[in-house]
Structures are given as structure tokens and as C-alpha cells.
């Protein structure tokens, strides 16, 4: 059995929440700039007269690639927009529409996100207190170096793994991933801990009835683990009231004078107060749960950022 970096540490049955196999997502959305025929009975209106124009341009949620390409002619000089001259242009792809701005844009723009940046990277984010999100990539140069060192068939003879280090509690565990994925969600059991991830590769192993019978190595791969790169360190958020962290002293800062004073929590009023305040909050929690039930019904409908958010305006 291949040994991992910190094998003496306990190993957890990791659960990959989801494997994301990325395809070149954006290419699907690719629009041919030219193929789009743009008929446009463009009748610009006089603002006052308010005869509505029947514009036949693509609506907002259609790909706009073609839009800008239609505006390549100088046929409309800056309209001083106060009073627009009603003008009927012939149906032409090249014709420029009178916009309220009257501004002319000649450069057609169309972009796609690159599939990758040819950079060796592992980036670690937290999604929730107990779910981490990792994305990674290996540059062509680094791949070549690995092949040089371990043989042309290095990537066929090895599989990628993520080694998760909990730096706060001092344990590590390993997750097997695959070469079709470039990101991963990962459940961890400890909130409010520092995590760091290592991307590496291990030779394939042959198992028989759960037992490792042999490890497929090549003469050049004479180790059972090849580290590639490490991620940033992040702290996962806390997810509960830290009542267990009772402290004797409470510290207060006067934000005007910057003087710090302390009070002993053992004084009766404080004990009483913390009990009362958090009892009230327990009560809120009941309400909160009610809301959480709501989430499942209406998708994301948190008290604030849900359906009734400025972000979802419209």
C-alpha cells in the first residue's frame, strides 16, 4: 500500500462531495459572429412624438456577440440626441442604430474565458465551515519536467491525489482525484481550523479483494509519492457558539481612547447576562430553523440574500 506523507496520522474516510469534471464550458456558448443575420427595421423615434419603435434586436439574454458587429458603419454621426431625427434605414447588417447615447462603437468584441492559464497552482477556498473547495492546474513546463524525470508515461502510470493537512489539529488525510477534474469539493470534519492542501501523484496500485497486491511502478518511478505543489492556507469558518471556550476575563476596548479594560466573568451579573442573552438567541434559533426549512422549498431564500435581494433585482 502506498504510504502517504504523514502516514502516522489518522486517516479519515474522506468524502468528496462532488467531482467536477470540467469540459470546456464556454466553448458551448460560442456564437459565430458572422452567421447571425441581423435584420433591423430600425426606426429611430422622435422622443416627443413617442411612436414606439419596433426594434428587432436580440434581447438581453441572447448572446450579444453579433450586436457590436452590426455597428461598424459610420453612417450615423453623433446624433445630438436632443431631438432625434426619425430615420428609416434600409435593412442592412452594416447599418448603425441610433441609440440614446448617440455614441459610435466600431470594435466588435467577443470573449471566451480561457480553459487554463498554463500555471501550476492549487488554490484552496472554503465554501462552508466543513466544505472546502480546491482548484488546480499543472503547467505544460512542469508536466514536461515530470516526464523528463519519471518517464514519458508518468501521467499514465500515476494518479493524482490531494493531501489535506489540518494544521490546527495536526492531522492529514488523502483524497484520490482524477485527471478529468480540475476542481473538487471536499468535506472536512473540523470547522475553525487551518487547512492546507498538497497536490501530488502516486503510482497506480493493483488490488485484489481490497488488498494491495502490487504497485505499478516504472524503473524511473522509484517512490510511491511525488509531490507537485501546495496550496495557500485558509481557516475554515466557525459554526457554533463558542460557549465551551469559557474565559475568566473579558476584555473591552474604549475605541476612542484605545484603553483596554478587563472584567471578570465570574461576577454574577455577567454570568446572568450571558445566560439571558444566549437564551434569547436560542429562541431566535428556533425561528431561524423555520427559515432554513424555507430554503429547501424556495432554493436560496435566506432572510436577506435570497429572493428578495438587490442582486436578484428584477
Amino acid at each position: 500500500m502506498p504510504r502517504k506523507a504523514k502516514e502516522e496520522k489518522e486517516k479519515f474516510e474522506e468524502k468528496a462531495v462532488k467531482k467536477v469534471t470540467k469540459t470546456v464550458k464556454s466553448s458551448k456558448e460560442k456564437v459565430e459572429k458572422t452567421s447571425k443575420s441581423k435584420k433591423a427595421p430600425i426606426i429611430s423615434k422622435e422622443e416627443k412624438e413617442s411612436k414606439k419603435t419596433a426594434k428587432t434586436k436580440t434581447k438581453a439574454d441572447k448572446p450579444k456577440a453579433s450586436k457590436t458587429t452590426t455597428k461598424t458603419k459610420k453612417s450615423t454621426k453623433k446624433a445630438s440626441t436632443k431631438t432625434k431625427v426619425a430615420k428609416t434605414s434600409s435593412v442592412s447588417k452594416e447599418e448603425k442604430v441610433n441609440t440614446i447615447s448617440g455614441e459610435k462603437f466600431e470594435i466588435a468584441e467577443y470573449y471566451d474565458l480561457p480553459y487554463r492559464y498554463n500555471q501550476t497552482v492549487v488554490k484552496l477556498l472554503y465554501q462552508t465551515p466543513t466544505t472546502l473547495f480546491i482548484y488546480w492546474d499543472i503547467s505544460v513546463e512542469d508536466s514536461e519536467k515530470l516526464k523528463e524525470k519519471y518517464g514519458e508515461d508518468f501521467f499514465e502510470k500515476t494518479r493524482p491525489v490531494l493531501i489535506v493537512h489540518n494544521e490546527t489539529k495536526g492531522y492529514s488525510f488523502e483524497v484520490e482525484i482524477n485527471d478529468f477534474a480540475n476542481c473538487w469539493y471536499l468535506n472536512v470534519k473540523d470547522s475553525k481550523c487551518n487547512y492546507k492542501i498538497e497536490l501530488g501523484r502516486r503510482p497506480f496500485e493493483v488490488t485484489y479483494q481490497g488488498e494491495v497486491t502490487s504497485v505499478k511502478t516504472t524503473p524511473k518511478i522509484n517512490t510511491n509519492y511525488i509531490p507537485i505543489t501546495s496550496s495557500n492556507t485558509i481557516e475554515s469558518p466557525n459554526d457554533h457558539v463558542l460557549l465551551e471556550k469559557a474565559q475568566e476575563m473579558l476584555y473591552f476596548r474604549n475605541v476612542k481612547t484605545n484603553t483596554v479594560t478587563s472584567k471578570n466573568i465570574a461576577t454574577l451579573t455577567y454570568l446572568k447576562s450571558i445566560g439571558k442573552i444566549y437564551q434569547v438567541n436560542e429562541l431566535y434559533k428556533k425561528f431561524y430553523n423555520e427559515e432554513i426549512l424555507d430554503y429547501s422549498k424556495g432554493g436560496f431564500s435566506n432572510p436577506s440574500s435570497g429572493g428578495l435581494s438587490s442582486s436578484s433585482f428584477k
Binding site: 467536477v20 414606439k52 426594434k55 434586436k57 434581447k59 438581453a60 439574454d61 450586436k67 440614446i100 447615447s101 455614441e103 462603437f105 470594435i107 470573449y111 474565458l113 480561457p114 488554490k123 477556498l125 472554503y126 465554501q127 462552508t128 473547495f133 482548484y135 469539493y185 495557500n232 469558518p237 466557525n238 457554533h240 457558539v241 460557549l243 473579558l250 473591552f252 476596548r253 475605541v255 476612542k256 483596554v260 466573568i265 451579573t269 447576562s273 450571558i274 442573552i277 434569547v280 438567541n281 431566535y284 425561528f287 431561524y288 436560496f300 431564500s301 435566506n302 432572510p303 436577506s304 440574500s305 435570497g306 428578495l308 435581494s309 438587490s310 442582486s311 436578484s312 433585482f313 428584477k314
Partner: protein
């Protein structure tokens, strides 16, 4: 208002829209979000603030006005387009008044809308002179409104912070924009999506921010546990004061089960003549490609759990407002009576909401606030309204705790902005952030005018790509294509410029065009990424 209150209530309205500006076309429906928000939220709020001041009602309210919103409100083209929008609405309302003569109740409502949009036009053009920012600033200057800032483009700190410089830039440009429009230093910030990470503290301090608003568990799960829960602010070891949302009061407003906006007498959002009127009749007033959209003219009330909706009745809606504000008022009195005896200082109950909830989604919201504030002023009351700044000035002795990493999104952390529908975006945002820092170091204090212009435009494109709104829209599955396009456009423009700058081959014409499209942060200095 009580001069010697047992506690305080603080309303914070977060006014934000993503930057949407399309001089190249009049067909982007998304531009209308701004116009709807002006007519349904911003002008109604201003109208009610003025009424309260005129009636000598002592009140306090806090609003965050985000940099993209400020830049849009200040944009001449968008102002012109808003006037165009109002003219279209007035014209439609005039037709409606004629069309609805057969039914007196309906006819009355159509006249109400005609008045309302005509009044908006009068206020916007003649009274505010198209300058809503100054109108809000006026209320800040006379001391009833505290305006706070936000991240430059509402970038979500808990995901951006792996490159801290990008968080720093969000804060720096947020503060810079605030100073430009309000002529002073902001004291508070609305963290985009209430996304708190301790890594941002030092930058918030560096740019003079004293306090931030966080979600309830940002306080309740803090380390060590704050003795007063969300009833008092805490101060982080890094020196940032955090106010947490009160759960009980927000639940009363937000709950989808029995929240105030669901009252049967309130206006039904989903019954709009844009969807219901005869197609040929309504066609000129809906999307240019003929797709039906909301017009804002809605004739029905929620009525109940039925599809048989009854006509909206303004007086009945006001009756419900009166009842609900009474309930809200009594609940706060009771809450403060329960908690105050256990505290050294009077408790503060912080009620943060999206501003656009008030008016846009909850049509009666601005009048609800007006009615509540009058009640607090005139009735016998154990609490007073306050702004977070005033509270800090009165009670500067604050417990030191590290707030919990948190946000106000569903389930309280990062899921809304990081999930399988939108996770592909982050590597691009991070990469562009790294490249921006690289550019700043490759070309520090660039003297060449064109190159400097390009470097600054890179900073604008990066910031626009980082807007949390695009991620939210993708998660929410509405207008997804627009959001994805915006991410591609800004990352695409950034990348093209990045390469041109490094190759020293800047396409000036291209640069000028995208500068006109992404017309925001005129005065930005890319050296914030240094």
C-alpha cells in the same frame, strides 16, 4: 423620540445595483433595474425623508450607497435614459386612464400611477436636477441620515481574499468614491454580502473605516463569545467594530411565511400589465424584442393564497401599514424591556435590509418606514432610533472579540457565490487579480500617458468582473446569460489589455471604446495594487 431611552433601534438600508451601462445599445433590459429602483425605492425614500423632516419628526436612518450605484446615478446617459423611461411610463399611464374607464376602481388606480410617474419626472428633473446623490447627501448633511460605503464593485471578500491586494483595492476605491460624492470620510462600511474575513480588517483600518455590518452569527459565533450577543457591537483585535443583525426583527420583515410584505392588502408583485395587457397594446412598452416584462403598473393586491386577485386599494394598504408598524413597535419595546436589565449599556437592535426590498419588492415599504418613524417619534416609547456611528460615540467601550467568518447568504457562508453553478469563475478572478498586482509591480508609477490609461482601465475591468452580483445571478438562475457575458467581457477586456501592456502594443482605439462602455471610477489609480 425618547430622550432617555432604554435601548436603540438602528435601520440600515443597503442600496446597491451592479454597474450596468450600455451606451452601445438601448436594448439591455438590465439597465431598467436602475430605473425601477429609482422610481420604486430611491425617490419614495427621499420623498418620505423630506416629509418627516418637514413634519419635524426626529428620526435616524443609515444607508449604504455602493460605488456602482453612485456612478450610475451620476451618469448623464443613464439620467437621460431614466427620463426616457419615465416618459414612456407616463404615456402608457395616459392610455391606461382612457382604457380603464369601464371600471371606476381600476380607473382610479391608473390615475394614481399617472400621478406617480408624472411626479417622479417633476421631482427628478425640476427638483433634484437629475442629481439624486445630492438629494441623499442633503439628509446626511442635516444629520438624519448616515451614509456608509461598500466595496468598490461589491466584490465578495471571503473568496477574493486569497489575493489580499484585491480586497484592499475594493476597500480603497469604495472609500475614494464615497469621498468624491459625499465630501468626507465614511465611518462605516457595508461589507459586500456582509462577507466578513479578518484578513480585511487591516485594510479597513488603513482607509479609515471604523465599523462594519455583519450577519448575526458573525457576532454570535465570534471568539470569545460576546457577552451581549448582537445587542452590542464588538471590536476585532484588528480594531474593526462589528454590528450584528438582530434576528427577531429581521425575521418579522423577511419571513416568507408571515413576514410583513406578504400582507394580503399589499400590492401583488407578480401581476403586471406587462404580462397581462393585450399584446399589441403593450408591445411598445415591453422589451424591444417583444418579450413581455414588468412595467411596474400593477393593479392587484396579494388578496390571499388564490389566483383570483382583488384590485389593489391604497387605503387598505395603509391600514395594514398602520397595524404592522404597531406590531413592530410593540415587539421592539418588549425586546428591549427583556434585554436591557442584563446589560451595562442600552442595547442596540440593528435592522439591516436591502434598500430595494423597500418599494421595489415590497411596494409599501417606504411608507411603512415613514409611518413607523412617526410612531416612534410621537408615541410613548422605551427606545430611540440611532445610527451605528452615534452608538459608538455614546458607548465607546466595546468587548474585544474576533467576529466569525460569515456572510448573509443562504446558510451563512460562501455557498451562494461558490457552488457548482459558478465555481468556474473564481480561478479567472484570482488569476486576473494576480496579473493586476504583477502589472503594478512591472510598471510602478508609469509616466507614459497611454500606458497609464491602460493600466487604470485594467483596474476598472478587474473590479467590474469581481462584482458579486454576477455570481449571485448565476446561482439564482435568472438572467444567467447576461451575468456570464459580463464576466467574460470584463475578464476578456482585462486580459487583452494585460497582454498589450506587456507587449507594449496598446490599441488606443480599443482602449477608448471600452473606457466609454465601462465608464466608472474615473479617478482610479492602479497603484492601489502595488
Amino acid at each position: 423620540m425618547n430622550k432617555n431611552p432604554k435601548g436603540y433601534v438602528s435601520f440600515v438600508l443597503h442600496a446597491h445595483l451592479p454597474f450596468i451601462h450600455h451606451p452601445e445599445s438601448d436594448d439591455y433590459l438590465e439597465e431598467q433595474w436602475l430605473f425601477e429602483a429609482i422610481s420604486e425605492t430611491y425617490i419614495p425614500l427621499l420623498r418620505n425623508y423630506k416629509k418627516l423632516v418637514d413634519e419635524k419628526v426626529d428620526f435616524r436612518i443609515t444607508m449604504s450607497m455602493t460605488p456602482p450605484l453612485l456612478w450610475m446615478l451620476d451618469n448623464k446617459l443613464l439620467q437621460k435614459k431614466y427620463i426616457h423611461y419615465l416618459n414612456e411610463h407616463i404615456e402608457l399611464c395616459e392610455k391606461e386612464v382612457k382604457r380603464t374607464v369601464y371600471d371606476s376602481r381600476l380607473n382610479e388606480l391608473s390615475k394614481y400611477y399617472l400621478n406617480r410617474y408624472s411626479d417622479d419626472l417633476h421631482l427628478f428633473k425640476d427638483v433634484f436636477k437629475c442629481d439624486l446623490i445630492s438629494a441623499f447627501k442633503h439628509f446626511q448633511d442635516i444629520g438624519v441620515l448616515e451614509i456608509i460605503t461598500c466595496g468598490a464593485t461589491h466584490g465578495f471578500f471571503p473568496i477574493l481574499f486569497v489575493n489580499e491586494k484585491t480586497v484592499k483595492a475594493q476597500i480603497a476605491v469604495g472609500v475614494q468614491t464615497y469621498k468624491k460624492y459625499f465630501g468626507k470620510q465614511p465611518r462605516g462600511i457595508w461589507l459586500p454580502e456582509c462577507g466578513y474575513v479578518p484578513e480585511a480588517d487591516k485594510y479597513l483600518k488603513e482607509f479609515g473605516i471604523e465599523y462594519a455590518i455583519v450577519e448575526s452569527h458573525g457576532i454570535l459565533y465570534a471568539d470569545p463569545t460576546p457577552v451581549y450577543g448582537t445587542f452590542a457591537p464588538i471590536v476585532s483585535p484588528g480594531g474593526l467594530i462589528a454590528f450584528g443583525r438582530d434576528m427577531e426583527s429581521s425575521r418579522q420583515v423577511w419571513s416568507s411565511i408571515n413576514g410583513y410584505p406578504g400582507d394580503y392588502n399589499y400590492r401583488e408583485f407578480y401581476r403586471d400589465i406587462g404580462y397581462e395587457a393585450d399584446y399589441d397594446y403593450i408591445k411598445p412598452y415591453i422589451a424591444h424584442d417583444g418579450v413581455r416584462v414588468n412595467t411596474g403598473i400593477k393593479y392587484y393586491r396579494i388578496t390571499g393564497k388564490t389566483d383570483q386577485k382583488d384590485y389593489y386599494n391604497l387605503q387598505w394598504a395603509q391600514d395594514s401599514i398602520n397595524m404592522q408598524t404597531g406590531h413592530f413597535f410593540d415587539s421592539r419595546v418588549k425586546q428591549i424591556n427583556e434585554v436591557a436589565p442584563y446589560m451595562d449599556h442600552p442595547p442596540i437592535i440593528l435592522c439591516p435590509y436591502d434598500a430595494e426590498l423597500y418599494g421595489h419588492w415590497w411596494y409599501e415599504g417606504p411608507d411603512w418606514l415613514y409611518t413607523l418613524f412617526k410612531k416612534i417619534h410621537y408615541d410613548d416609547c422605551n427606545f430611540a432610533l440611532i445610527t451605528p456611528s452615534e452608538y459608538i460615540d455614546k458607548y465607546p467601550n466595546i468587548q474585544i472579540c474576533s467576529p466569525c467568518r460569515s456572510s448573509w447568504g443562504a446558510n451563512g457562508y460562501n455557498e451562494v457565490w461558490l457552488n457548482p453553478s459558478n465555481d468556474y469563475v473564481h480561478r479567472h478572478l484570482h488569476k486576473a487579480g494576480d496579473r493586476m498586482v504583477e502589472l503594478a509591480h512591472l510598471f510602478p508609477n508609469e509616466q507614459d500617458k497611454l500606458k497609464r490609461f491602460a493600466l487604470n482601465q485594467c483596474a476598472r475591468e478587474l473590479l467590474l468582473a469581481q462584482s458579486s452580483d454576477w455570481l449571485f445571478i448565476i446561482t439564482n438562475n435568472t438572467m444567467v446569460d447576461y451575468a456570464k457575458k459580463r464576466i467574460k467581457d470584463h475578464i476578456g477586456r482585462f486580459t487583452k489589455l494585460y497582454e498589450e501592456i506587456k507587449r507594449d502594443k496598446i490599441d488606443e482605439k480599443y482602449l477608448n471604446e471600452i473606457y466609454k462602455k465601462d465608464k466608472i471610477f474615473d479617478d482610479i489609480d492602479y497603484m492601489i495594487y502595488y
